[in-house]
């Protein structure tokens, strides 16, 4: 049970407790007052649903909990519930996300404000339970909003914010966090009270397109070519709107909790930086530490942490690109046959505006491979070296075993 903490002059009594990332998500979901939860267990998501089950069984959470027989059914069940106006939650990882993939597209296309936690985990084969980001990024074409937390506090904050974002733009929201590094690591965090969350997330308004017996209509009929495209276009517009909604929700939540992250990106030491590294997830903490170290040595480096991968924060990327000598991108994922996903999209955003900043793409941490502060120190030093040499583009895999060097300069 949370214990009352210190009195904060701005907010009154705050509650400060220690939780794992998964439990923080469970607390956030409980406070958001869902009507239906449905999930299927998969490592490392299990403690999310176990904690939620505990809340249900001890009467703290009044919700219908459907213990489905697969992830495909988990997404279908929350989709069904959301289609009649319920607030819902599900969570999964890796193989589970891929199994429910078809239904995820259905959820987005049906414009249902579903919130899903994704404890990011590498995809088999070979079997792995450790973190990388390929699983959640498979959703990037589907219309899902993809937000990513970097620590336990942010898992809690983002999950609550996700409901507000989802219900404003009528698109489902996936909140990602790293397996074990965040999901199973205990950190201190502030949790909001039920009254505060109720003020932030008022009772869900039932959208016009949700099924009701008073006004019978169908959702999802066969649609001919002359009509289909506009549905996708409306989702496109909703994603664009989400860029502003994510920022305004972050600001509103900041008023309430005292914590603002910066919206679609969180900029660390970027204002006067010559070199900025774009990165998503828990490893950003190490990158920020590395940047602080190098700043003390006089190197003007910054870290721009991506919080929203969809909608992609092109404008923020441009703002940084306009003011730096070189950009680095760090991908804890790989789009095989193409490149690091963040790398490719950052380059595309820069090109959209006709800018010509060099971008160095770094790939690492895949399958849960450990990332240390030292790795990011070496990355920044590499960027510095390449910048002086006038290199426009390079792609580097970090930490490959020696026999795999292939002539690429490994950091």
């Amino acid at each position: 049970m949370p214990c009352k903490g210190y009195r904060n002059g701005e907010r009154g009594i705050m509650t400060r407790i220690v939780l794992t990332g998964n439990h923080a998500a469970a607390y956030a979901v409980k406070l958001s007052r869902p009507d239906v939860i449905s999930a299927y267990p998969i490592t490392p998501q299990t403690s999310v649903i176990e904690k939620l089950s505990e809340f249900v069984e001890n009467g703290e959470l009044n919700v219908r909990f459907i213990r489905v027989e697969s992830e495909h059914s988990a997404m279908a069940a929350v989709l069904g519930a959301a289609s009649v106006g319920a607030r819902v939650y599900t969570a999964t990882s890796s193989q589970g996300l891929l199994y429910m993939y078809e239904v995820c597209w259905w959820a987005a296309g049906a414009r249902l404000p579903i919130v899903m936690g994704v404890v990011t985990r590498a995809i088999a084969p070979p079997w792995s339970i450790w973190t990388d980001h390929n699983d959640i990024l498979t959703l990037r074409d589907s219309g899902w909003i993809i937000l990513f937390a970097s620590d336990v506090q942010e898992v809690f904050d983002l999950t609550i914010q996700a409901y507000k974002i989802a219900e404003t733009v009528n698109l489902p929201v996936a909140v990602g966090w790293d397996a074990f590094v965040v999901s199973h690591t205990i950190e201190p965090l502030d949790i909001l009270s039920q009254e505060e969350v109720d003020k932030f997330l008022p009772k869900k308004k039932v959208s016009e397109h949700m099924l009701k017996v008073e006004d019978p209509f169908s959702l999802g009929n066969l649609t001919y070519p002359e009509d289909y495209m506009e549905f996708r276009y409306d989702m496109w517009k909703a994603q664009k709107k989400a860029l502003d909604v994510i920022s305004s929700v972050d600001e509103e939540y900041g008023e309430l909790s005292g914590r603002r992250y910066g919206g679609t990106v969180e900029k660390n030491m970027c204002d006067d930086a010559d070199m900025v590294l774009f990165i998503m997830g828990a490893a950003s903490g190490d990158a920020i530490e590395a940047a602080a170290l190098l700043r003390r040595k006089g190197l003007k480096v910054g870290v721009c942490r991506i919080r929203s991968m969809r909608p992609f924060p092109s404008d923020e990327v441009i703002k940084i690109a306009e003011n730096v000598k070189i950009i680095g991108t760090f991908d804890r994922d790989i789009s095989l046959g193409c490149g690091g996903i963040i790398g490719v999209e950052v380059r595309a955003a820069i090109k959209e505006r006709g800018l010509d900043v060099p971008v160095i793409e770094y790939i690492g941490g895949i399958g849960g491979r450990d990332l240390r502060v030292q790795d990011f120190v070496e990355i920044f030093n590499d960027m510095d070296k390449l910048s002086r040499k006038g290199v426009r583009f390079e792609r580097r895999w970090i930490g490959l075993k020696e026999e795999f060097e292939e002539g690429e300069i490994n950091v």
Partner: protein, 300 residues
């Protein structure tokens, strides 16, 4: 004034002028299912003939709310709706899955099994036209022995999955078979099931003129003959008690049943069936009825 109108509700919930084939057995069955369930009904329809019968955006043929859903997911989506409507305080809303045989016995079986095991308060109705008709008559797990389909051109070598028995093994409170030639039986069973809380499974024979190869005017004759030969058995498992219904009640005695050839000869999909295979089918039917004999009056 016909008595029929005193028994059968007049309101139509399937609007005419939809994309169903002329003589569609499924459409006729759904017409009665919805008459029995009424307007406070939410339907879940996976990929199947009915998802096309509805007609294209921005119009639809169904005068009840419908969620179209992915092929394998109907029972799971309906589970979510069933829980949500109660949690949201909407009283007495019927939640019904209307799915084809493919979406029930094959790709939908996992979700169906899960939903049945969890005993959600919903109706699951499988309309069985005994093949993947919507995609052009391919064999499904519900295709009978000897039937032509585009993927079994020399006749299906397997036997139908017995879904009602599989549902019985899940222990759900109500299971019944339906047939469009006997609409009053459909109404009676759905009305009885409305009063039962829990998972209610129905398996409806749906003769299909283009898929089974018979003239569209013969749908009712084919459906009726399925029952009179004993190929299709009308029964219910009502909270553990087994009962035959309709004409099936009088067919325990083999002499009362017509030979299966009377049913097969009406359909082009059995045109090339061999004499041996006909006898295999007759034996299959007789064995099923022997099993039925031991079920009569059995509790739980």
């Amino acid at each position: 004034m016909s008595r029929i109108l005193k028994i059968i509700p007049y309101e139509e919930y399937i609007l005419r002028g939809n994309a169903a084939c002329p003589g569609c057995g499924a459409e006729l069955t759904l017409r009665y299912v919805l008459k029995a369930l009424g307007p406070k009904t939410i339907m879940v329809i996976p990929a199947c003939c009915t998802s096309v019968i509805a007609g294209p955006y921005p119009r639809t043929a169904f005068n009840v709310p419908v969620l179209h859903i992915a092929f394998a997911a109907s029972a799971a989506a309906a589970s979510g709706i069933a829980e949500a409507v109660e949690q949201l305080g909407k009283k007495n809303v019927n939640v019904v899955v209307w799915a084809g045989d493919g979406g029930t016995v094959d790709i939908g079986l996992q979700a169906l099994s899960g939903a049945a095991e969890r005993n959600h308060n919903l109706f699951y109705i499988c309309y069985d036209n005994e093949a993947y008709m919507n995609t052009g008559i391919q064999k499904s797990g519900s295709t009978p022995y000897g039937a032509w389909t585009t993927t079994t051109p020399t006749g299906n070598k397997g036997f139908k999955k017995d879904l009602p028995t599989i549902m019985k093994a899940h222990g759900v409170p109500y299971i019944a078979t339906l047939n469009p030639a006997f609409p009053n039986d459909i109404l009676a069973k759905i009305n009885k099931a409305k009063k039962i809380r829990g998972f209610k499974y129905f398996h409806a024979l749906s003769p299909c003129p283009p898929g089974w190869r018979f003239d569209s005017s013969m749908t009712i004759e084919v459906a009726r003959m399925a029952v009179l030969t004993g190929m299709w058995i009308l029964y219910e498992w009502d909270r553990g008690i087994f009962r035959l219904t309709g004409p099936s009640r009088g067919l325990l005695n083999k002499e009362k049943r017509k030979h299966v050839i009377e049913y097969l000869k009406l359909q082009g999909r059995f045109r090339h069936i061999s004499k041996e295979d006909i006898e295999i089918l007759q034996e299959y039917i007789d064995n099923k009825w022997e099993e039925i004999k031991s079920l009569i009056g059995r509790s739980k």
